[in-house]
Symmetry: C2
Subunit: 155 residues, 2 copies
């Protein structure tokens, strides 16, 4: 019976270890995604379209208003280049909610953005909202879909 009890203890600890290995550290994943958002925004404001596109998965999509979705990093780079080419382009975006799966492999994010540039008839500013979806690929969070729209008519 002592051997039996000892084996049950070993089995119990094994189960504990297994379940802790399977459950993701959601606070750490949340912090990782927020850190990526900060780096991503820095790449945007540095007007580095290639670095900006590298935050998306190979099959990621950017889905701008008024144009079809652009799929893949090359097409995503071109979309960002068109934004970054606007005179006095500047952007801010911030997550307001991040939801992460218990398994730590899929997440989605809601946030807002502010965009400004100088248009043909003067300064333009736009405030809107976005959803970014994330998937972990080889241990790294990458953007699967990036969609956004304006809260008001473009001014």
């Amino acid at each position: 019976m002592r051997t039996f009890a000892r084996l049950l203890t070993v089995a119990g600890f094994s189960l504990l270890l297994l379940s802790s290995a399977q459950a993701a550290d959601l606070a750490a994943e949340d912090a990782a995604i927020r850190a990526l958002d900060v780096e991503w925004l820095a790449a945007v404001n540095a007007k580095d379209a290639t670095a900006t596109a590298a935050f998306y998965a190979e099959d990621g999509q950017i889905m701008p208003s008024g144009a079809p979705a652009a799929v893949g990093r090359e097409a995503i780079t071109a979309v960002w280049q068109s934004f970054m080419g606007l005179p006095d382009f500047a952007m801010n975006f911030e997550p307001t909610r991040i939801v992460i799966a218990e398994s730590g492999d899929v997440a989605w994010e809601i946030g807002f953005y502010d965009l400004s540039f100088t248009g043909e008839s003067g300064p333009v500013s736009d405030h809107g909202k976005y959803v970014v979806t994330w998937t972990k690929v080889n241990g790294r969070w990458l953007v699967g879909a990036d969609i956004f729209n304006s809260d008001g008519p473009q001014s």
Copy 2:
């Protein structure tokens, strides 16, 4: 040693049972979400705004172009009522990609929509794209965020 071997076998089967209980049946979850999309679209085309809003989580959001996000079922119902009130309103939407977490509690979906109605100067049709995010609440998939925009300028 025979007791030891038997206990190891029991422990092994326990681990197998545990891991199969934890891993979600992703094909079944995918089918469940696609079935919900079909029901949701039927509620939209029945012009039942309350039934349409019931597909969203209590804290879900609809994020239309040209307006701030509407949060919660009451606000979501009002947004759908405004769409459904358009003369000859009709809608189609279809997922093109659904990504589900291994844990089966979080998912996201990309798709396209077609919207038509009769405007002041005649028939209007709009084609665009959307992202819908899902979270499982008490065993039921509910929409966390629903955002969409047009592929072209509104005609």
